[in-house]
Symmetry: T
Subunit: 143 residues, 12 copies
């Protein structure tokens, strides 16, 4: 079974508590649970990683190629500011799919520009937890 790395960026550990009017009441754990279920169906093996540290995310993406066939990433706030993660994605040698819970194009001006998107395989934005599940399906078609 092919392995897929699922990376969640800063403040997503607070999902469910944080701004429930924007992000809903779902916790990251429950999303991960639903992903596990779908992964089984799609014959994928998932590993989850959450960090508030840009550097840790770069570390993880940089070493992913050895063990993983693809990455699903929600870079959260770093979407808009991190050239380091962009460079890591661009250099990692495996397909990376960018997901967002909320529709970032319907929010503040500064959230409408993703530094990651130009080097990602594709982007899925605005479907809540479904964004992650659709990304898994995309992965299963691509790899």
């Amino acid at each position: 079974m092919k392995k897929v790395l699922v990376i969640n960026g800063p403040n997503l550990n607070l999902l469910g508590e944080r701004e429930p009017d924007v992000y809903g009441k779902l916790t990251l754990e429950s999303i991960n649970g639903e992903m596990e279920e779908l992964a089984k169906e799609l014959k994928l093996d998932l590993e989850f990683f959450q960090s508030n540290h840009e550097g840790e995310m770069v570390d993880r993406i940089g070493s992913a190629k050895k063990s993983f066939a693809a990455i699903v990433i929600n870079p959260a706030a770093y979407t808009h500011t991190s050239v380091a993660i962009r460079d890591a994605v661009s250099a990692c040698g495996i397909p990376v799919i960018e997901v967002h819970l909320s529709n970032i194009y319907g929010r503040e001006e500064f959230r409408q520009k993703s530094l990651i998107a130009p080097v990602a395989k594709g982007q899925i934005s605005g479907f809540g937890k479904e964004s992650y599940l659709l990304a898994l399906r995309a992965v299963s078609k691509i790899i």
Copy 2:
């Protein structure tokens, strides 16, 4: 079975002939065929509409509410220039999912801004024909 309207914008009738290095060799017909298959599985009834005319797209979106539960739209070039389609999407009263074959964020500057995205439910970009199929799956979860 719920009905879904699939709208393709300008120049997508030429898919397969047009810039195959960007868009691949698939024709719109073959994408529609694959969508029909998935729709059956998801218990959805599809209707396809392609037009090079901004006004026809506005007409169609404006009258969609009566017969359709959702819209999947690839606005193509009008993505970047049409406030009229944006207003139609915003006013139509049913969820609209924006799809793009190519990753628009990896292309020319002017293609990286979607006027439609802020009023769409969500956006899927960069997975080739899979963008449409993922959109159908999103529809089946939302409606």
Copy 3:
């Protein structure tokens, strides 16, 4: 009796259904009705035209000079994107009055710039259906 052409642009056919918090519940038909009444009083003969098509609006403005003494136009979404309608207005040889139901200057940034206004005779914005009626009164003074 002098003839006046009243042109309504994209999505205004949906008035009453569309975003009632912005545009109110009035339909285009009822506005047209009130205009007819005032027109009688002002000794004007009205002809109404609504289209979602930029090209049809250009056609109509381009040929208006032969039969009409003035145009009242709500270009809606094309207000902000259509150089073609601007050129038609500029070339049509009769006075054109631009109206808007809502106060476009109190809305999104991109709606605050009218491409039509610089070549119109004048602009009336923000008075709901009264915008149209005031425009008729303006016409009756100008022609």
Copy 4:
């Protein structure tokens, strides 16, 4: 009879002498005269105020609520520079209608942006003295 405050901003005291190619030969007095006539017909009671001082205009708008049902204002040059008048309009608690003699959208770039418009009820621009008369009619419908 309801009272309406008519405010004219800087340099409008010079109307008739000042740049007659832009503003015509009409004086402010003659415009006021025509407004008085129409006001009678509409059962409105007008009070006129002209000042070249931003602060005096703010004073007057700030205290208007007690005596007036609406304001008609031509902020002239302060249209483009005065946040203080904008705040006064926004805070005054009665409808304010912005008028301009000339079509400000057909003039220099810096005159095409009104700081007042976003907080006014509506704007009428480009009809010469008729701009004021149309504003009175708008007032009579609104209050």
Copy 5:
């Protein structure tokens, strides 16, 4: 004899009536006549198409490849706003030459940017009817 498609965009049907100080008194018919004469000399077969509709222009360019060896186009107002025509030109597979009657670089700021030029073979601007005739000569060298 090779066939060349000559496309004229919005408001050019009004040539001769419309802003004669900018565009001269020549009608589109008389320009077409002079083009026919030169075409004979150059052994080219011309077909003329004028439309105010962006969508019709896209339709026509999209299907041109089958019958034509080149396109001469004056996109008029759509020069500055149509990504759809740009995409059609870019995808059509035959050389497209952009012409303008007036020197667009000597006019309003917004007319100095052509969205079509980057994907056209070349551009000829500012020579009145001669712009079209020079374009025909360019075609006869290129195809």
Copy 6:
């Protein structure tokens, strides 16, 4: 006892009536009252000045040096537009502390830029009436 001049700019005379959702229900008088109390404790002698006139504010700041040891100023709307007040602050030779009731950085774009701040000693923004009281405490430390 050292004297401190407290200056309030345009529309702040309306505090309590004006936009209570933004500024609360407190009147300027009650804020002044609380300042007086704290001033006693801090051994400061206050003088209050409110004006809607940019020029009067400049006059007052320009002549402050003779009698006052510091200025606390809420320039309100002139924060964003007045180079004259900026120059007066810069030239006045005593420390000037800028205060705002609301958090100006959480409001409209144009309110997020203060022309006064670069030449003030410091700025306190967003604490309602406390902004003024904190400023008094800052004054008592500085002078």
Copy 7:
């Protein structure tokens, strides 16, 4: 003898005290004195006016035509923000010469743009008190 109105804008009453490293130690009185002397030589009759109020400057310029042949103005901070003074200058019907003590082009970005200059006869900037004296000489040649 022809009369010339000399207008000094905000904070210039403080000349000599205010930022002596930028403006020198000269007072406005001493500059006026030197101007009087030169005026005699040039057969001009001067009247001096200083104000910190934009509105008073507009009043004065607006009524200048009746008594004066020309205006020499240092609009100080209003140079960069006052459309009202610009309009007054543009409308006043007599030549207006703009002067600055310091070289405004060697100072902060926002001081390098004069709203007045485009409608003034000419501008003299950077020569300290000599700027005023050169302006008088210019006046004596022009009127």
Copy 8:
């Protein structure tokens, strides 16, 4: 006694050594000492945290709600670049007060924009160590 978290961002550990012309010779320790003293008086219990790591600051803010009633933060360089800290502040559910030693509005252009301010309760800038002490006082009023 209510607990308050005091967070200092990057390079503030070097205070006293680093650019003493901008930041003075005070060390962070001495500031913390003065804060402790005032906290006693205000019946507040302080906890200090300094980090050069954006991620650690996000971690700390994200988990603050459980133990703290408010946060006083000097985000230093991250003020201008960190959307992650902004999101943490926005999500943390307790009031956050932003402080700066120097007046950031009197420094380089890029330091004049705070990404944190729009989601903070308020901001205090430019009073050296007093900025922190004023923030504590603000906290004691708010919580």
Copy 9:
């Protein structure tokens, strides 16, 4: 026979060697040769001038009126930077036609703006050596 001055700007002396993928292998000499041939046919007498010096180009254009009926100019790099050549063209009193070998609108952003075009008679861009020959034909129609 009327004389035409053909001016080539900086680096065009290297044509054939320089970036052959952009400019082709043709030398300036061979282009001049083809121009001579066409000139005979059109009864024009050509004089060629190439320089890498902006000042020499200005000299030449400034003195052209005495001997020449028109100028054909490829300003090369100076197209985008030289106000001096623009002023010379604008002042020279004879028609000037701007040509470019490559389509400048398909190249780097900074090459898409011509300072010369607004004051030229017209512009021909993108046809390789044909650009020059078409320019000669345009000259023969204009003079």
Copy 10:
């Protein structure tokens, strides 16, 4: 007698022929003549230099210090584009006065920015030939 270098930039050799509606009919020779006369009166010795070459102007300014006490320069088109002349002026060690015949602030946008002004002693603009004569008077006061 102190020597002053008078430098005139590109196209000023054409004065009198070139755009007489902007620059008048005076030739450079006649201006120089008037300057000579005034120089005698002021006990100054003038040397004139005109060039269309940026490099020659830089050469001349760079070597001026040895022989001249000041420079009067009309950089013409190079005003807006030449960092090289700016650097020469900044480095030359003697006062440089910038003059313009026309009011550059009343012309095209790109002519309203002088690269030279920030490093000049002062600037005189808009008085025709008098600009030069006023500059001479300024020189005689400064040196």
Copy 11:
């Protein structure tokens, strides 16, 4: 022997694997090896540090002064986004030399702006591994 700290930023640990068309096949280890050799010749003692973490880089620079005479840094992606590293460099009290393997000015727009360069001693960009070796030579001259 003086000690020099060599800092490499994010993703440089992947050198040799990552985008070999941009960065070549050399590993960081081999570059370090060549630096060691040259250091011996120049009598310098090197210490190497690589991190993907902005905070760790700030920590290291902040504490460098005690042990090192200079820093050679390739901030990689943080070049363009990190004010924190900029502040650390500015505050560290020893010369810092910025190096880049590739010519950052020949790459994407956002890579052409270095936040570090304005506070570094100097910058060397575009020479591959030689950039580091040249930096060492620069260090040996400066310290």
Copy 12:
């Protein structure tokens, strides 16, 4: 021995006299002397060229290929304005190394953008005369 052309741009002939606080007291001659010494060591043969004329620099670069293996250039002021030199560098077919005495990124905004850098092999900035010597060493590695 391979030949290297060393080009110095405008005002560098004045080195030592010009702005010694920015550029130091070294003359160009003494830098050239040190370069000669190092060149001997590196087995390179140098030729020096200084000019204030953009055109002469273009001439020299254009003809360099025949005799030289590389160019070291300090374009000085033309760094920021000359597309002509950029094109010459891009076309010259030999490696070109850009050097600057001062750190251009620590100076005025307009000096922070080099038009030459994107087409140079690399850039060395900020090391005074060492910038030239490092460039020679870079040359000796590259050719």
